[in-house]
């Protein structure tokens, strides 16, 4: 194979837990080879050498939740040929997006004695709400195999092959007992994109939608099924987690947050979106 210039890769973090970029460092068997095939020019968690770009590929973890991040993402986009969001925070807003239906100043004041010293937007929003995103890796956290597939595809110049089918399909192929049918657990597997190898049903748990909604999920139908024997509020709260701000889950999440935190509710108006 002819020697190619190594792609310049950046890995950056916004509002998030570090888990998705840690997934890169968790590719222990492949990390040295990845370092040989890619030029990791910006990855503050792992290297003191810095680069302000330009990047051939930028991996972005985390959601947009401060005024500074709002400016940062526009600048980063301008310096990146390809921008890939990694994980539920960057792709759908993450758990912190639950504040999008609340009174953020009140939240801030309840956590910080001097809220005026804290820089924060009223909302935590996905990267794609602000700039063009070329590809996304789902999951809370992302799956290492999917990250490896993305990197391989980038190196070979082909499209990454990422599944867009329900957890349910994979669960059936793995021969698991259906926790929804057999144990009456409120499983979101029928609606949720796979990538986890149907992890939770394999651990006797209901899927809680770490990878977010699959393409064209029938949320209404599954909610009706789950509502048999459960109060509507009990069904709604299932959605109000790590991908609760994904468009397909948003209505249910908003209702759930209103019930869970009635005192701090505010309407999510379009004008308040920080774009």
């Amino acid at each position: 194979m002819a020697e190619q210039r190594r792609p310049r890769v950046g890995v950056v973090k916004l509002a998030s837990c570090d888990g998705c970029q840690l997934t890169l460092l968790d590719l222990e068997d492949e990390l040295i080879a990845i370092g040989q095939r890619f030029d990791l020019v910006e990855f503050p968690e792992a290297t003191s050498r810095r680069s302000a770009g330009p990047y051939d590929v930028l991996l972005v973890e985390g959601s947009i939740s401060t005024p500074e991040q709002l400016e940062q993402i526009v600048e980063l986009r301008a310096r990146s040929k390809l921008l890939v969001t990694i994980g539920a925070c960057a792709t759908a807003g993450g758990i912190q997006a639950m504040r999008n239906w609340s009174n953020e100043p009140e939240w801030r004041a309840s956590v910080y004695p001097n809220p005026e010293d804290v820089e924060s937007l009223a909302t935590a929003t996905p990267v794609a709400d602000h700039v063009t995103v070329d590809a996304e890796l789902r999951g809370c956290p992302i799956d290492g195999r999917q990250l490896l597939e993305l990197l391989t595809a980038l190196r070979l110049g082909r499209r990454p092959q990422l599944p867009d089918e329900a957890v349910c399909n994979e669960c059936k192929r793995l021969g698991r007992v259906c926790v929804l049918v057999a144990s009456d657990l409120p499983c979101l597997g029928p609606l949720t994109a796979t990538g986890c190898r149907a992890l939770c049903p394999g651990y006797n748990r209901a899927c809680y939608a770490c990878f977010g909604p699959k393409d064209a999920p029938n949320t209404v139908s599954l909610s009706r099924w789950l509502g048999d024997g459960r109060a509507p509020a009990e069904v709604d709260r299932l959605f109000a987690l790590f991908n609760g701000y994904a468009p397909a889950f948003r209505e249910a999440s908003e209702r759930a947050v209103a019930v869970m935190q009635p005192a701090t509710r505010r309407r999510a108006g379009k004008g308040e979106k920080a774009s």
Binding site: K13, A15, S16, C17, D18, G19, C20, Q21, L22, T23, L25, D26, E28, D29, L31, I32, G35, L40, F43, P44, E45, A46, T47, S48, R49, R50, S65, T66, E68, Q69, G94, I95, Q96, M98, R99, W107, R108, S110, V111, Y112, P113, N114, V118, E119, S120, A124, C140, P141, L199, C200, G202, Y203, R205, C210, L241, F242, V257, M260, Q261, T264
Partner: protein, 438 residues
């Protein structure tokens, strides 16, 4: 950059701190008489976890608080699960307790190996990253990655995946591994124990900058176990509290330069958490292999405690401890008879502290009769170490500020990295800026 100002003060601005988890910077203000004030500026975006858990039930809380930190999610799950089980008086199968220790050992192994080999060792050997270090020290980096992988594998088998495990539940585990599932860990644990012993010996030979301070140390202590999920909150100067009573001796304060609340003892004196504190206070409870390896280094307890740069030795000793304990648990593993005990909520205060890889992690939840969280307080180890870091920086800075800027920055960053700060956790963390004034 270094900016002299009109009244002879000096100001250092050092960019975003690297090889730490999360975002932060450091401000140093150097007065004309040479005294230094250090401020860790944690500008990691606030995510309001203490509000996000309101209206949630205990098992939801376990899933949510894991997301505070991708490096130590098990710690967050363990502090929360013990808090709830204590309040609800849930009878826990002894085998569940042991399996939780194995899970926690896995996280300590993964987190400590990440820090020792990938984040901290490059400082001592003069590289910008582990990947650059790998060009000259492939065997060392490979060893670190191998041990880290083993820690992740333990967490995966017990918890389902290395980051944000799914099996921990109030009452136990949604699923406990079958004995044969742990068999694959036996040979790698054997090999890793040998490598970790060599690592303790190796990091003890690393040349450290001069450093001398007498820190107040705080750690859980338990009569028969190395501190992890059980025991009493103790200090080097006589604090002795139940694990839910953290608030009786400590409190949180907000400082204007940080998104991380700072925890302080009642008298305002900074205190130190983490491997150095635990190894110093609970040396007697270390696994015999880990204690023997530490003794063999010839490093005195005073040197280990007083020299901040020796933390890599304490961390390596704990890495060995966690591997040795994991080996014993795997060898004797019997699945729990009751992997998931039934429980009923009751109103009250659920509070507990466990030892995250970086130190004591305190959770306190006020819950109603249905078990729904009404108020929450989460105090991560880095919030508690902040004041100690600032204190040590102020002591250490005068020795390096006359060095060329890049070298001064490097030395100060090295000091901060010695604490293995986790900024993602602490927000509610690092760049270095030095200001000379007053």
């Amino acid at each position: 950059m270094r900016t002299p100002t009109a009244d002879g003060e000096r100001h250092f601005d050092i960019g975003q701190l690297t090889r730490v988890e999360g975002e932060g910077r450091l401000d140093l203000r150097v007065a004309s008489d040479g005294t230094v004030a250090a401020r860790l500026r944690i500008f990691e975006a606030p995510r309001y976890f203490e509000r996000l858990v309101i209206g949630r039930r205990p098992d939801e809380v376990l899933d949510i608080v894991a997301r505070i930190c991708g490096i130590c999610p098990v710690a967050y799950q363990m502090s929360a699960v013990h808090a709830f089980e204590d309040l609800f008086a849930v009878p826990i199968d002894p085998a569940v307790r042991t399996l939780r220790r194995l899970l926690y050992c896995g996280e300590w192994i993964e987190s400590h190996a990440l820090h020792i080999f990938l984040l901290h060792a490059p400082d001592f050997l003069g590289y910008a990253s582990a990947l650059e270090m790998a060009r000259d020290h492939l065997e060392l980096v490979g060893r670190g990655l191998g041990i880290k992988k083993l820690g992740n594998r333990i967490v995966s088998i017990v918890g389902g995946r290395p980051i944000h495990p799914v099996s921990p539940r109030v009452g136990g585990f949604s699923r406990a591994p079958r004995p044969h599932e742990l068999d694959e860990l036996r040979a790698p644990l054997e090999a890793a124990i040998a490598e970790a012993r060599e690592t303790v010996a190796l990091v003890a030979t690393l040349e450290t900058p001069p450093s001398d301070r007498e820190p107040r140390l705080v750690s859980l202590r338990h009569p028969s176990e190395y501190p992890m999920s059980d025991g009493r909150i103790t200090s080097s100067d006589g604090i002795d509290l139940a694990p839910g009573d953290w608030g009786e001796a400590f409190h949180e304060e907000q400082v204007p330069w940080s998104h991380a609340l700072q925890a302080r003892a009642a008298d305002g004196v900074p205190y130190l958490l983490g491997p150095t504190a635990r190894v110093s206070l609970a040396r007697e409870q270390l696994h015999p292999l880990a204690r023997a390896a530490l003794d063999a280094t010839g490093i005195s307890p005073e040197d280990l405690r007083r020299n901040v740069f020796r933390s890599i030795v304490a961390r390596a000793v704990e890495l060995l401890h966690a591997l040795a304990e994991a080996r014993e648990i795997v060898a004797d593993y019997q699945p729990p008879l009751v992997p998931l005990a039934p429980w009923k909520p009751r109103a009250g205060i659920a509070a507990w502290a466990t030892e995250a890889p970086r130190g004591l992690l305190f959770h306190r939840y006020e819950v109603d009769r249905a078990g729904t969280v009404r108020r929450a307080q989460i105090v991560p180890p880095t919030s508690q170490n902040q004041a100690a870091i600032e204190h040590d920086l102020a002591l250490f800075a005068p020795e390096v500020l006359d060095l060329p800027h890049d070298e001064a920055t490097h030395r100060l960053e090295q000091l901060i990295r010695s604490y293995d700060p986790c900024i993602s956790c602490a927000t509610h963390f690092l760049d270095l800026r030095v200001e000379h004034d007053r």
